[in-house]
């Protein structure tokens, strides 16, 4: 009696349409979710500001070691919407260039960390056994050190500057993606479609990246979005301590750190860059949250 429903034919007819339909719906649903939409708006605005900074910043020359002491520490005005800092530089222009540095950090760190992490996690999860044990043991050990502390140690061992900070964070970031990918793959490797691909004689790289990867992409995507915010926070933290972007580079954390000297009187020097960090990180987090709801996946930061 339970053999009544026969769905053959139904499936073949609908798959391509269904896929297109589900993407269209996903997009609609995402745009319906206010949080995800606002987040996307923020991220797009920040990216545009960062790319166009040299052309739209009111005082692009203030991004570097410019000085104009007569105009130092001016409170916000029409000419300087975020005021000026101790060297008389326009804080607003510097914030725009700060976005540039932050996003550059994200691109470098994730551009290196994500592919490496996914590959290692994929190998560990797919082969299992001893390979998995060795790789995951290594990963766990790296995870035992807070990224900020580890980056601090590495940066100090090299020389404190922005490039080394990027290298340090990138050298750690793969661990998170290795962990995530491994856990996703190990629950996926016994699925029927993987078996089917094996029987059909597909090569291992094909199975890993053409069969399995598309199926675990949504949690990874969510993770990458949330990561972007996290990387910016860590970069800002390193700059704040003084081992990231070096003055006169307009690192957002550096600007907050230098601005604290002029608190509470000239509050704008520290506060605007601080809120700028919060703004961009919040944008990424909101997109991540929207995506998480959309894909209905649980990912830790």
């Amino acid at each position: 009696m339970s053999t009544i429903s026969q769905e053959r034919g139904w499936i073949d007819r609908r798959i391509p349409e269904a896929r297109r339909e589900s993407w269209r719906r996903a997009w609609l649903r995402f745009m319906n979710d206010r949080v995800g939409f606002i987040g996307l708006l923020i991220v797009v605005v920040v990216i545009l500001l960062a790319i166009l900074a040299p052309w739209i910043a009111p005082h692009p020359e203030h991004a570097g070691s410019f000085t104009d002491f007569p105009n130092a520490l001016q409170s916000p005005s029409l000419d300087h919407p975020f005021g000026t800092d101790q060297n008389g530089r326009d804080v607003f222009s510097r914030v725009l260039f700060g976005f540039r540095l932050s996003l550059m950090l994200v691109v470098v760190v994730l551009g290196f960390g994500v592919p490496v992490g996914i590959t290692l996690g994929m190998v560990a999860g797919y082969y299992g056994g001893r390979t998995e044990n060795v790789i995951m043991r290594m990963t766990d050990t790296f995870l035992a050190l807070p990224p900020l502390v580890m980056a601090l140690a590495i940066t100090s061992a090299l020389e404190p500057n922005l490039v080394n900070a990027m290298i340090a964070i990138a050298a750690l970031w793969w661990t998170w993606h290795a962990r995530l990918t491994q856990s996703l793959v190990s629950s996926e490797r016994n699925e029927a479609y993987v078996e089917a691909a094996k029987i059909a004689g597909a090569s291992t790289p094909h199975i890993m990246f053409k069969e399995i990867l598309p199926n675990i992409l949504s949690p990874i995507l969510v993770k990458i979005t949330l990561d972007a915010g996290f990387v910016i926070l860590i970069g800002a933290g390193l700059s704040f301590i003084g081992v990231g972007a070096q003055p006169p580079q307009p690192g957002l954390g550096t600007m907050v750190s230098q601005g604290t000297t002029y608190l509470p009187g000239s509050w704008w020097v520290a506060l605007f860059p601080g809120f700028a960090i919060m703004f961009v990180v919040m944008g990424f987090n909101m997109v991540g949250d929207g995506l998480r709801d959309l894909f209905d996946v649980e990912v830790d930061r």
Partner: protein, 376 residues
């Protein structure tokens, strides 16, 4: 007396014109569309139908387990209007008057508590939804009745033929087999001596021999305790084995009801006939064919009779109007227009042989006399 007033003299539970709608992104899904049924005292009633025909939703609607649905209709239990009850009053009824056995035994026990903890709490607080926090702490930690409740739980485990009940009390659900979990759930349902049981395909998730044992156990317990049982199943064999009366459900509607013996001897609705015809038979050596097509979707259900796109006897009238429930004696009724026509225009009355021919694609089999509607 109309069939839906009460097909039994002394109903314990009566449902009348129950509708359940779910609202989603796409619109309103009319999942239950006017279901009426009744269960007499000490009677065993089965609701049978394909997966997805609305059986579980009906049960959950009765038990108030559907938080987001729009539920309408009349539900009377032992003279009390269930819809009018407050959540508090209802939680006093649940567990003590009406109890339930859930579909999947493995997932229906809380994985992070021992069986003992869950059973003892049920024994002490099940059907006592108004118990406060202080009362709970008092009873749990001062041993006020705790030991007695625990003992009751052990006795009940023994009654459901659980081996080593003391050990089981200390175990976590993951340490037990599916059959054992099912026994625990039955024990849990019976702990507070309910009058009525509602069971959602008990044992279906288990393998066949265990399933059989569970049914035998259930049958024995019902007889011993004189329980009323409303049982949901997709398996007509189970309904035949255990029930006094059967409701056949399709697409959120009751399409036929009759005493169990009658329904197997003389199924009337083409859907019922299809179901029975597709029971595999040991003789004949051929696999039974299923009914073509699948259960309707609820967002845009077929007009008229919801079964007409799959029915070999369907004609124009089936497509345009919902068929009336036609009484066939005191306890039998069928929702099909073929039984509701003036004798001069009489169309063929479906029989199970003809239905089987239709399913096998026999040349002389009845053909739908209209353009078959695509159901997508």
């Amino acid at each position: 007396m109309s069939w839906e007033e009460s097909v039994v003299d002394d109903p314990l539970l009566t449902i009348k014109d129950l509708t359940v709608d779910f609202e989603s992104f796409d619109g309103i899904h009319k999942v239950i569309d006017g279901v009426s049924l009744s269960v007499g005292r000490g009677e065993v009633v089965a609701i049978a139908g394909e997966t997805g025909c609305g059986k579980s939703v009906t049960m959950k609607a009765i038990l108030r387990l559907l938080a987001t649905a729009d539920i309408n209709g009349e539900m009377i239990y032992d003279g009390q209007d269930l819809q009018a009850m407050s959540d508090r009053e209802f939680s006093m009824l649940k567990g003590r008057e009406m109890s339930m056995i859930f579909q999947d035994p493995m997932s229906s026990l809380n994985p992070v508590f021992t069986i003992g903890e869950q059973l003892t709490d049920t024994a002490q607080f099940g059907g006592r939804g108004t118990t406060g926090v202080l009362e709970y702490l008092k009873r749990k930690y001062t041993g006020n009745g705790r030991e007695e409740a625990r003992q009751r739980a052990i006795d009940m485990l023994r009654e459901v033929q659980m081996p080593d009940p003391e050990d089981v009390m200390e175990s976590y659900p993951t340490q037990l087999s599916g059959g054992m979990c099912q026994r625990v759930l039955i024990a849990q349902a019976l702990l507070n001596e309910p009058t009525m049981l509602i069971a959602d395909e008990p044992g279906t998730a288990l393998d066949v021999t265990i399933h059989d044992q569970i049914l035998t156990l259930l049958k024995r317990l019902i007889e011993e305790r004189d329980l009323s049982l409303l049982m949901i199943t997709h398996n007509l064999g189970v309904a035949r084995e255990i029930s006094d009366r059967v409701y056949i459900m399709y697409g959120g509607r009751i399409v036929e009801t009759a005493p169990t013996e009658d329904i197997f001897a003389e199924p009337k609705h083409p859907y019922t006939q299809g179901l029975i015809a597709s029971i595999p038979r040991l003789t004949g050596g051929e696999m039974a064919k299923g009914i073509d097509g699948s259960v309707p979707e609820y967002l845009n259900p077929p007009n008229g009779c919801r079964y007409h796109p799959r029915c070999p006897y369907a004609y124009e009238r089936c497509r345009s109007e919902r068929p009336p429930m036609v009484e066939q004696g005191a306890t039998t009724a069928v929702e099909c227009v073929l039984y509701d026509q003036p004798s001069d225009t009489a169309r063929e009355i479906p029989t199970i042989e003809r239905t089987r021919q239709a399913m096998d694609g026999h040349p002389e089999a009845p053909q739908p006399t209209m353009e078959s509607e695509t159901d997508d």
